[in-house]
């Protein structure tokens, strides 16, 4: 598999890659290059800014109260819960220790990474078979795959608990990850994008003696990298944010993910609001960072489900 690509195939890949890179921009209708014909002017412009600021205040309000509570000494919290108090980092440190957050964040990171890698690999392989291989029963297989999209997670976890517990995987990383290692959504998404690749590409590669795995690795995967990024981001966020499953399968506190760990923190410290708020803030920060870095993949992934006619 580790062979160099023939020059002709490489050229075709480069051309296709270049044209793909232009896609995201061309869907935007030239925003930012000039003013809209109906851009608010004068007082209407001021009014629009005021409205935007007011709505922003409302949207940010729960985050605002969390942040000020997290950096305020415990005894100052009840004086003015909506105003910042004397600044302290102590509560964050307390929450980190009391909530065992370092361990839980690490657990979440391990599980989300396992899930992401397996989801991407399994989706790419299955999608390739559906898009590039001809075999009897292809359509039947595909319909069965897609039909699993109709089954909500909540309908299967009752039995999945027995399965995973029976395998002895309670309180383990593999137990936390295993039900999510493959999704029909991923297969569907990757198949759709593989189908947009020109068939000539595969034929050219075949003529040059490149096998299916070589073609997949050196041609198909590089061409669909943006969608792959979106799929990876979604796999990661989905696993990271999973709440119900860790609560079912974990009963050793050390193995909690950050989500089920937050539950423990809040249920056992209901009388210490700023400790729980500090823990919540710490738990939220990794996702904020991930999203700031991968904004484009987020939008691409979200819209992938919607724009398909």
């Amino acid at each position: 598999m580790a062979t160099e690509l023939p020059a002709g195939v490489q050229g075709a890949v480069d051309t296709a890659l270049a044209s793909l890179d232009e896609l995201p921009e061309s869907t935007d209708r030239g925003r930012g290059r000039g003013r809209d014909f109906d851009a608010p002017a004068g007082w209407r412009r001021v009014g629009r800014y005021l409205l935007l600021a007011l709505v922003s205040f409302v949207v940010l309000f729960p985050i605002y109260t969390t942040v000020i509570a997290a950096f305020k000494p415990s005894d100052a919290f009840f004086d003015h819960p909506l105003l910042p108090g004397p600044f302290t980092f102590d509560v964050i440190v307390d929450a980190w220790t009391a909530g065992n957050l370092g361990r839980y964040l690490f657990n979440s990171l391990v599980v989300a990474t396992i899930v992401t890698v397996f989801q991407v690999v399994s989706a790419v392989l299955a999608a390739y078979a559906f898009a590039f291989l001809r075999f009897p029963g292809r359509n039947v297989f595909f319909v069965v795959f897609i039909a699993t999209l109709l089954v909500p997670l909540e309908a299967t976890l009752v039995v999945n608990f027995d399965t995973v517990d029976g395998l002895g995987w309670s309180n383990s990383y593999i137990g936390l990850a295993v039900p999510f290692l493959a999704t029909a959504f991923g297969v569907f998404l990757m198949r759709q994008v593989f189908l947009t690749l020109p068939l000539d590409l595969r034929d050219a590669a075949a003529i040059d003696g490149v096998g299916h795995f070589g073609f997949l690795w050196y041609v198909a995967v590089p061409l669909v990298r943006p969608t792959l990024g979106a799929l990876a981001l979604f796999g990661f966020l989905g696993a990271w944010n999973q709440y119900l499953w860790p609560n079912l399968i974990i009963n050793e506190t050390e193995m909690n993910t950050v989500q089920s760990g937050l539950r423990v923190l809040s249920k056992s410290n209901l009388d210490q609001p700023n400790l729980v708020m500090a823990g919540t803030l710490v738990a939220a920060i990794p996702v904020v960072i991930v999203l700031l870095v991968f904004q484009r993949q987020l939008v691409r992934g979200l819209t992938a489900g919607a724009v398909k006619g």
Binding site: R35, T65, A69, S122, A126, V151, D162
Partner: protein, 307 residues
Amino acid sequence: MERSDRTKRSRWREFPLALLMLAPSAVILVVFVLYPLGRAVWLGQQRCDNFGGNCKSQGFGQYVDIFRSTEFQNALVVTVKFALITVPLGLILGVGLAVLADKYLRGIGVFRAVFSSTVATSVAVASLMWLFLLQPSVGALANVSWFNSMFPSVKDPGWLQDPGTALTAVALSSVWAGLGFTFILVTAGLQGIPRDFYEAAAVDGAGGIRRFWSITVPMLGPTLLFVLIVLTTRAFQTYGEVDLLTDGGPQPQDSTTTITYFVYGQNSPIRNDAGLQAGAAVLLFLVLLVLSAIQLRGIGRRVHYGD
């Protein structure tokens, strides 16, 4: 899409490779989606003793019994009410924010980031933020004197503790958490509408409101349908908010026990009965199936997908 002519013999040539490539996904989907669904359908007609053992078949009539039980009916009504608050409110607010931020103004990117921000909150993070906003003794709002005198019920009994307001309070937290998702989707949808449509309509004398209803809404059709389905599905799968904010209460009415909380919740009456849990989970699946079918057939038919 025909891929070059092949002889009959070669139809099977790529079969082993295909199986190999499908295997990883297929194994997971069979073991963790299809098998558990089938097994849940079987378990759903069984009745077990208090320790979850000694399960006996009751016949598939047990599904009818579960469906008609007071507890399931309550959970169904709670869930439908919850959806009737969160879906329209989430949709309207999401579209409202997206339209508000869809103007070329200096610094609009900052506002877009703010409106997207709740997409970064997990259900646990969002719920805990709202828990300590609304909690009646230690919550932020209950300890602000002017707010307290304006709305005494925030302290006594507390919005999450009053059977009349608990579900709405949980729904508000859920709508807030979903705002970022809807905003991002609708914003992307808005950017796909050609600018010329608006300019032409404006030249013809159509005002802002007319342009919104005659261009924006129809052109957003597929996006809105998608958001509608996702928000409805999410409403019927609501678990974390209830678990963290109300534990299914206030008791004894179980005012916030959604179907999913009814199946999995710590305070659920069927907590230790695998048969009833599986039965209720299968009913949840059927309800969602019917809802998706209605939404896709009823509304999907009228949605314009462009060319």
